[in-house]
């Protein structure tokens, strides 16, 4: 008797379709990432500045005269500087994690497996986005808030937090803008190709090319008015406003915010067009 006659049984339990498909996708993606050494290595690298900043906070609280040294003083600006300091690692983790999120599924023709189940296109995109957003939040938003908690812990006083309560929404908003922009752009690029390497090159090209163009314009015109051309400079410009420090470019912050919103909207449009269970060749 074939073995299959002994093993198969009809299932009697219920199913849960309460829109949790995106969580299943995200949880599976994060489990897969956690098993990759390269990812763990990148995460360790990304947390080194956190340790350094932690030492800085400890020193400011315990070493006499340290808080008077401008660069090492614990100020609201330090948190913005820390988040900007994470930019290289944000870039590398975005490329490492994000480039294959959809491209690998397109290569393996997996989209039809997802979408032939009770999974909507929005849930699929949300699940994939949640993987990268979680990884990026773990190196930006989470450590920044942790550092904020270290201040009263090392100083023995809530005075800094009380005087800078707006830091919590500032850190959160700045992190969300950074993470959302990076996530949407890499996912859109990932949906355009079946090669994660091509996606990585495209993303790097987009980041560096737009910044190079801005650099040339700024050099020729001797003005930073065109910083909006550089995609990720817009994030810095908006970040300065959120942390209530003088904006570093002449571009009106509202323009930078608009460019970010347009980039996210275009990425969402690309995703809505590309995430389909069928590939139509006409």
């Amino acid at each position: 008797m074939p073995i299959h006659r002994e093993r198969y049984r009809r299932r009697e339990g219920g199913i849960d379709l309460a829109g949790r498909a995106w969580m299943v996708i995200a949880a599976n993606g994060l489990r897969t990432l956690a098993r990759k050494r390269a990812f763990l290595f990148l995460m360790i690298l990304a947390w080194m500045p956190v340790v350094v900043r932690g030492v800085q906070i400890w020193a400011a609280a315990n070493v006499p005269g340290m808080s008077e040294m401008g660069m090492l003083a614990v100020t609201p600006r330090m948190f913005r500087d820390f988040l900007n300091q994470q930019d290289p690692m944000t870039f590398f983790i975005t490329v490492y994690v994000g480039s294959g999120l959809i491209a690998d599924d397109i290569r393996a023709k997996a989209l039809q497996l997802y979408l032939s189940r009770p999974v909507t296109r929005s849930q699929y995109i949300a699940g994939k986005a949640a993987i990268l957003m979680s990884a990026l939040a773990a190196i930006t938003w989470l450590p920044a808030l942790l550092l904020l908690l270290l201040v009263p812990a090392f100083m023995g006083s809530m005075a800094f937090v009380r005087d800078n309560l707006l830091l919590i929404p500032s850190i959160s908003a700045y992190s969300i803008i950074k993470i959302t922009l990076s996530t949407f752009i890499i996912l859109a690029l990932s949906s355009l190709s079946n090669s994660r390497w091509f996606v990585a090159v495209m993303y790097a090209g987009l980041a560096f090319f737009t910044h190079a163009v801005y650099g040339v314009i700024a050099g020729v015109g001797d003005s930073t008015m065109f910083s909006w051309v550089s995609l990720f400079s817009n994030v810095h410009q908006v970040g300065d406003v959120l942390f209530r420090v003088p904006p570093r470019y002449d571009t009106p912050p509202i323009v930078s915010a608009l460019v970010i919103a347009i980039a996210i909207a275009i990425s969402a449009f690309v995703l809505s067009r590309r995430i389909r269970a069928i590939e139509v060749v006409t």
């Binding site: 299959h4 498909a21 032939s116 269970a277």
Partner: protein
């Protein structure tokens, strides 16, 4: 539930300017139904429309008594789909892949893992369930596609060319599995294929498609009821002229793999007309044997009518 598992009512699907399905009306009864047609007939498009993956430009589709336009997610929760092309989720072992598919279908994690093990044993991949799916052979990939379609215990299975690329032994085993699913486990299925013996060996009923239209549908047994006599014929001499002569008399002629051909002679005529026609073109009938109709005859007749 009604006796049918899927109904298409005047459905049209267009890719650009090309109609992939044109005014298609079909009823798929419960049980095993074959969806037969040459490549490009619109079979895969129909399966995807049944899942709600393609929105029809016209008409209505009902699956398991639900309207595809209204409740596509409820339908997909109760339907298992085995795609034609190789499809897997990269970087996963077979058991984690199938369990993941079960979770995506709404099963709790523990239940999904248990079902994954059971279904992998069922499709004959029990020993290979901890291997990466990407290292599987073609036959194993077909089996794992069946496993992922089956893992949430659907009420209806849509199988798109399930024996594609399999060797004869693997093909037989796959067909045995499909038969078992339909007749022992009582899961209705629609088997899309261009291989007629596969459909004939598994299915009770068939929907025949060509160029985006349904050209014939019904129980295979009744479709095979002869409207005349089928003869296997071999001739010596001017074979082409003989065939031409028969066709002029509205006899259906179909080539076979051997040097014979099959002739459908209307009930009002008899074999003597074959001899007469041969004599008229100077050919000799060397072999004449009455045969039983096959699904291929039905298919050829349907294509001929088109």
């Amino acid at each position: 539930m009604s006796d049918s598992v899927a109904i298409l009512d005047r459905v049209g699907v267009r890719y650009g300017t090309q109609w992939a399905l044109s005014d298609v009306s079909a009823v798929f009864p419960a049980g095993a139904v074959g969806l037969l047609g040459p490549n490009g007939a619109g079979k895969s498009t129909m399966l995807k429309a049944l899942l709600g993956l393609i929105k029809p430009d016209s008409g209505r589709i009902g699956v398991l008594d639900l309207d595809v336009a209204v409740a596509p997610l409820d339908i997909r929760a109760r339907v298992g789909y085995m795609p034609e092309s190789d499809a897997q989720i990269p970087g996963m072992t077979a058991v984690s892949f199938v369990a993941y598919c079960a979770e995506l279908s709404g099963l709790p994690a523990a239940d999904a893992m248990q079902r994954a093990h059971e279904v992998l044993y069922y499709v004959g991949l029990g020993e290979a369930r901890y291997r990466n799916v990407e290292t599987y052979s073609t036959g194993m990939k077909q089996r794992i596609k069946l496993a992922q379609a089956l893992v949430h215990d659907p009420d209806l299975l849509l199988l798109d060319e399930p024996t594609n690329g399999m060797d004869p032994k693997g093909r037989e085993e796959m067909l045995a599995l499909v038969r078992d699913i339909a007749y022992s486990r009582h899961i209705s299925l629609i088997l899309s294929s261009h291989v007629m013996p596969d459909v004939e060996s598994v299915c009770d009923a068939v929907v025949v498609m060509n160029r985006g239209k349904v050209v014939m549908q019904g129980p295979i047994a009744s479709l095979k009821k002869p409207t005349g006599h089928i003869f296997e014929v071999r001739v010596k001499g001017n074979r082409a002229a003989f065939v031409e002569r028969l066709r002029m008399q509205a006899f259906e002629c179909r080539e076979t793999d051997a040097d014979e051909f099959r002739v459908l002679v209307p009930a009002t005529a008899g074999p003597e007309q074959l001899f007469a026609s041969a004599a008229q073109v100077g050919a000799q009938v060397r072999h004449l044997k009455q045969s039983v109709p096959t699904l291929e005859d039905v298919f050829a007749e349907a294509m001929g009518e088109q």
